[in-house]
Symmetry: C2
Amino acid sequence: MHGYEFDEATAVQSSGDGCWRGEVHDGWDIGGNANGGYVLAILGRAMRDQAGRRDPVTLTAHYLAPSRPGPVEIEARVIKAGKRFATLTGEMRQGDRVLLSAIGAFGDAAEGDFELASSGPPELPPREQCPPRGPRNGGVPVALMSKIDVRLHPDVSDFSESGQVGNGEISGWFSFADGRPNDTLALLLATDAFLPAVFTLDQPAGWVPTVELNVQIRGVPAPGPLRCQFRTRFIRGGCFEEDGEVWDSNGRLVALSRQFALAARA
Amino acid sequence: MHGYEFDEATAVQSSGDGCWRGEVHDGWDIGGNANGGYVLAILGRAMRDQAGRRDPVTLTAHYLAPSRPGPVEIEARVIKAGKRFATLTGEMRQGDRVLLSAIGAFGDAAEGDFELASSGPPELPPREQCPPRGPRNGGVPVALMSKIDVRLHPDVSDFSESGQVGNGEISGWFSFADGRPNDTLALLLATDAFLPAVFTLDQPAGWVPTVELNVQIRGVPAPGPLRCQFRTRFIRGGCFEEDGEVWDSNGRLVALSRQFALAARA
């Protein structure tokens, strides 16, 4: 049986004592650097499996160096194995370079109804009416777009190429190109799979490195594509946040994300 | 010269090799458990000093056990000392118990104007017209209120005692009781110094343990009290987020915070 690409590209194998081996696969990159959500999924999977729990519940990673295709080594350490959550630190390396360092809680992500939901999913036209995220990002090829199917709200789809100015918001649909069902690991990828919301603003284009990405997994996604929304409200001293919401096909929030990132240099 | 209480209560001393000693002081607690923002300030200060940088810039901690008055040991490890930021992990212990585990980036917090600010500070009546946060929290004494001066927006001040139902939002003023000026370490405390925004909702009252607290320091605060706003939008499976904004007296955003926390049991 042929597996799904995301499962193969995030596979990890224990080498004992909290050490895991994985591989950054080719084709999940933007201009040669592996996507931050993709590498977080590799690290999160190793931490989750080390924890022996079903899902990441809240996971925060710092990005220390760009990830290139090739083997990675992961160290996952259980700090506390609680009844509800296990808390772990994780570090991912390529040779001597630390790529990511993370901390997270793992357990069972929520299923079922909200006790409180103060807002709903972003309003999006049907997926068929939303153009795909382009294969280039400010001139840089987005190989990642061969692996995932990201459809942008028609109002925002053209900013990165057209030079029009938007309002710091991006929304659209997320699914895998090969039809892999979404699960809680996929949510880690989805939160970093869109073009940066700052690209809708009158800001210099270019690489906007993620310093930190925090993802709260708020539910197990129902089958079907995800509705995603990202927003940057404040830029100061060349630093900005990007807040994301991911909603499943039942209209339930399944992830909240927040990045701390650096603006491109003018 | 007599120092300020917060400086004394967050003092840390290096014992070499990334190890630091500090002490959880009495009086910064809620029902005997030290406030999460206060203990984060101790840990953040040790990590900051280990980094040799001026400010925490973005810091994320997981809370593993309640902190009680007494000595703590901190291990702060530099993962990467970059030009702009140093990235560190930190762990704080009391004896065998890990209290907090954290990861953060340290450097110079922003000063000066925003490149983008999509919203402004919360609208608050003058500080004198805002009642102080009460000395009790769902029946539990809030000793912390002897150290800080938190004034709540009159519309929300009474929820925890009156049983009225609000909308998941809390706002108000923050300063130190002894007049200590606010700095970037104080912002770590401010983001957890208010009553939980969920207390404004029709939810069971009681202890709502923080699993994770992420604080982005977006600027060095100007002199004067801080305007703070906290909001919980989603509760699912007994878990909720609390998003915070902290603004200085010049009307500039100085911190964004996000918690992942557990609702009180019914």
